[in-house]
């Protein structure tokens, strides 16, 4: 704790204003109409608080270096956020979250080394910040690697992983208590290392489809680390902002898990129970029915009702506007067209809405799962573009599947199903999809954008 410095009243009031702005920001971001205002409010709060800090009368050495690093960091963040493709946005958020957690852990380390204290609460919160912050950092890096597909998206199960993880967790707790009882510098470094190791072990066994939930959880953890660092530094604003994020993030994590029909514990510990293998090599040599773009165009052109199911493959191929073109063409022919949006279509809840909005798809045509599911049985053709896990009936029937229990779009109820796929490769969750072998299913292989373009041009001549 900065022992003597007390912020002047106007500074404390400014921090109060910033805290209120953060509350309003979170509140506004919960409704589509006010969401952008919310971002602005939050940004104003953050700039206000950081700006005030420099004039608060607190003694700052190394001012030039601080400003240089601040500016460089801001530019890196700005450029990364501006440049990222919307499809890669989830992993960038994970990365931003990770560096925030890392910053919190480093702050606690420095405060301990420079100021130090034997105060019990100071030590407790220092330990908490270092552990939670480092877990959030390394955990987020692993989620980044998974989403960026720089490593396998399937659960990674290392031999004895469960026991190693428990051992590391226990060592971390023991080390933390030891440091609180008997403060020693080497213990702090050890805790930092153990926290980093635990973060990796904790995220490795999580399957691809569950990664968004873990990102949200790590986000809440970073919030808590920031709150704890607020206590370490005796800074009320950090305490409040961190707690707000920690609490709202925890609730949000729960809501996301619910939207996917996955209890949080199953998400986090599913891989440990060894229930993840899923299918394996049975499927690839089984017969499937593939068709040409022309076949698909004819099926669509003579339908009365068509439902489009967009998935991540659509986004990767940047085919959103081609899909919209197809939808417009069908609507012109008097065919009823809707988009069925699974809560976790894309990589995260709401991700697909963002991607389709980017392609100017009218909002009213986007239907959420509960709304569209009863309509499939009255649908002539379902066109699944680059989606797999969210329509996989294994989620209903196969208890050993990693996605078991996740609510899915009931496309198997429709008269005919068309899959646009790059290959027979299984989806993100790494399991076989039975619908692909259904006699009423037609597969059109190829890049989603190419296939859609061909279908559109064939349809024009039907």
């Amino acid at each position: 704790m900065s022992e003597t410095h007390v912020d002047p009243t106007w500074v404390q009031l400014s921090y109060l204003v910033a805290a209120v702005l953060f509350v309003l920001a979170l509140k506004s971001m919960s409704s589509p109409r006010t969401a952008r205002t919310g971002v602005l409010l939050g940004a104003i709060g953050a700039v206000l608080a950081t700006g005030v800090l420099f004039f608060s009368g607190i003694e700052l050495m190394n001012l030039t270096l601080i400003i240089v690093f601040l500016v460089v960091g801001s530019i890196v963040g700005l450029v990364a956020a501006r440049r990222v493709k919307m499809t890669a946005m989830p992993q960038l958020v994970a990365l931003f979250n990770g560096v925030g957690g890392g910053a919190a852990a480093l702050i606690a380390v420095v405060e301990y080394l420079v100021v130090g204290s034997d105060d019990l609460l100071f030590l407790i919160f220092t330990v908490a910040t270092v552990i939670i912050g480092s877990v959030a950092f390394s955990g987020s890096i692993v989620t980044y690697l998974k989403l960026q597909e720089l490593m396998t998206t399937r659960p990674v199960v290392i031999p004895l992983g469960k026991w190693i993880t428990i051992l590391v967790a226990a060592a971390t707790v023991v080390g933390g208590v030891w440091l609180i009882v008997d403060p020693q510098q080497w213990l702090l470094w050890a805790l930092l290392g153990l926290g980093l190791l635990f973060g990796v072990l904790f995220v490795l066994p999580v399957g691809g489809a569950d990664v968004p939930i873990v990102i949200s959880l790590l986000n809440a953890m970073t919030g808590l680390a920031v709150a704890a660092s607020g206590y370490v530094l005796d800074n009320l604003l950090l305490l409040i902002a961190g707690t707000l994020v920690g609490a709202s993030g925890t609730l949000l994590t729960n809501m996301m898990a619910k939207a996917m029909g996955r209890p949080l514990t199953a998400t986090l510990f599913g891989a440990f129970s060894g229930s993840t293998a899923g299918g394996g090599g049975t499927g690839t040599d089984r017969p499937v029915r593939s068709g040409s773009a022309n076949d698909v165009a004819i099926m669509l052109g003579f339908a009365n009702k068509v439902i489009l199911v967009p998935g991540y493959g659509l986004a990767v191929a940047q085919a959103q506007s081609t899909l919209r073109e197809l939808a417009d063409l069908l609507t012109e022919k008097g065919i009823e067209v809707d988009y069925a949006i699974h809560p976790v279509a894309g990589r995260m809840p709401g991700h697909m809405n963002v991607l389709l909005a980017e392609a100017n798809v009218p909002y009213e045509q986007l239907k959420e799962m509960d709304e569209i599911n009863p309509e499939f049985s009255a649908t002539d053709v379902v066109l699944v573009v680059g989606a797999n896990d969210v329509v996989n009936p294994a989620a209903r029937t196969d208890q050993s599947a990693p996605i078991y229990g996740m609510p899915i779009l009931d496309v198997d109820q429709a008269q005919q199903i068309v899959f646009l796929k790059r290959s027979m490769r299984p989806g993100f969750a790494g399991i076989e999809n039975e619908i692909l072998f259904d006699p009423k299913t037609t597969l059109l292989f190829g890049d989603a954008k190419d296939s859609l373009t061909k279908v559109v041009s064939s349809l024009k001549s039907v």
Binding site: M61, V109, N219
Partner: protein
Amino acid sequence: MDGIALLTIFVLSVFVGFEVVSKVSTVLHTPLMSGANAIHGVVVMGAIIVAGESQPGSLELWIALAAVLLGAINLVGGFVVTDRMLEMFKSKKPAAPAKEGGAA
């Protein structure tokens, strides 16, 4: 500040945090998470404070400056990327009334 006052603030903040996001629709889960992520970027303030109290040239200073860098990336990048996500929702006028479905 004494422990009880801090505990009070902490507990009240937890309730506010729960309350403000309790009615969010699925569509906004990702932007909201990203926005919350940006808000914890104020951790950069803490990094600035510890960098300001470290001796020039010391190991602590460089660790603190690394924290300043990471915190600034979190803060600025977080807000910009959230804004970009939400930008996608703006162009369509019917969006707002359509969203009210449950309330109407």
